[in-house]
Symmetry: C2
Subunit: 247 residues, 2 copies
């Protein structure tokens, strides 16, 4: 399952020998889609000085729930799952992070959730303190961060609707449509939706068991609404899935 999925993701930056030069951010393919899109060239150079590029292998933990959040992250390639654990082991995935997403935008002292890489992942990381200080000198960056938090809040509320008021089939459809939209921002809208996460992850995101996720995907595939491919699905009947997702 972890084999060729990186083929779908935005490939990591070509490693340039003189990295951290002032050209570093300029080559970043998610810049315009991320927080950094709010910065001018000279500001970008200042921010880049604070950045600590990092890499995680698939399955590695990036940070854990309730830990002190000494860093914040701007994902440049790869994807991650964000989740909370209950004392008895039940797990709720609160979201999936894609390239361009910012982890830690609440700037709280402790992490609200755990995060681990689903694929090899690269990010620009910053000390939370120094990032916060940088924000004080760039009010428009704070505005952008706040706008991103507002967007997250809206997604979280949409997820509440999905969790509280939708059937298993509708949940799967809404999940696929939501993910499709997010991938579309990143790549030239492909009909194939990459699914770097396991069925268990999807279930823990939607409040379903693995078996139900599998059954619903199989049902949609039988109806020729989707085609299940390695590490993803292809939407054959977008209108049908959208109808289910909105209903």
């Amino acid at each position: 399952m972890a084999g060729s999925q990186e083929a779908f993701s935005v490939p990591p930056l070509a490693l340039c020998p003189n990295a951290k030069a002032e050209t570093h951010c300029e080559q970043c393919r998610v810049r315009s889609l991320s927080l950094c899109g709010a910065l001018e060239a000279d500001e970008l150079i200042d921010l880049d000085r604070l950045s600590r590029p990092m890499h995680h292998a698939a399955r590695e933990t990036i940070f854990e729930q309730d830990e002190l959040a000494d860093s914040v992250f701007n994902i440049t390639s790869g994807s991650a799952r964000l989740y909370r654990l209950l004392p008895d082991g039940r797990r709720q995935v609160v979201g999936f992070a894609l390239p361009g997403d910012f982890l830690g935008l609440a700037l709280t002292e402790r992490n609200a959730f755990s995060a681990d890489a689903l694929t090899p992942l690269t990010a620009c990381s910053f000390s939370r303190q120094s990032f916060s200080d940088f924000l004080d000198s760039k009010p428009h960056l704070l505005r952008k961060l706040h706008a991103m938090a507002g967007h997250e809040l809206s997604l979280a509320q949409e997820q509440m609707v999905i969790l509280g008021r939708r059937t298993a089939e509708e949940k799967i459809a809404a999940f696929l449509i939501g993910l499709r939209k997010r991938w579309a921002r990143l790549s030239t809208s492909s009909v194939t939706i990459p699914l770097p996460m396991t069925r268990q992850d999807i279930g823990d995101f939607l409040g379903l068991t693995v078996e139900t996720v599998s059954r619903m995907l199989t049902r949609l595939a039988r109806e020729k609404a989707i085609l299940i491919v390695p590490d993803g699905v292809r939407l054959l009947n977008v209108a049908r899935i959208e109808a289910l997702a909105e209903s």
Copy 2:
């Protein structure tokens, strides 16, 4: 059910004849708990100049989902329910607003949800545009607003856990504990938790039907864990409810 519930709420400000004088905010009993807690006396006077005090009767709509958000609101007394509707009429309550809560903190162009008053409600309302302009001159106020958004995001994620991974009984327990904590910030921690919303509202918040909400409350009452009183519940066995809520 709609009778004496205001007895629990923070009573409205005594109407002072020369309202909007510079003493207006100074008498506000939620000031230190709300956004305004981040402001100095002189800044408070400036903000107060922008404020338009407003009043809603119980059941009245404050604003509706997808409408242009021309105003933002700082609730000074009373409570409201915040919800999204699905095309087919299903409803998901995304939260309940209490005194000190800020509506519209994402500053988005359109409302992400509908809001209506559960009790008579008073608030300081601001034109979104002028509030946004005011923010530009007060970076520390934006920081506070952002911190509040981060807190909202955390609550939303906690709600995802509740909706996705908890049983009906646990949902009710978690709801009561969460609400207790919020009321405790406002008043001297009373053992009685005011419930200005209907069972239907609670159900639509927790992803349950009215009947199940009623049954679970009755069950907890039979076990002597709670006592159901008009417009609220009294926690008789806090440890029991907390254990259920965290489990």
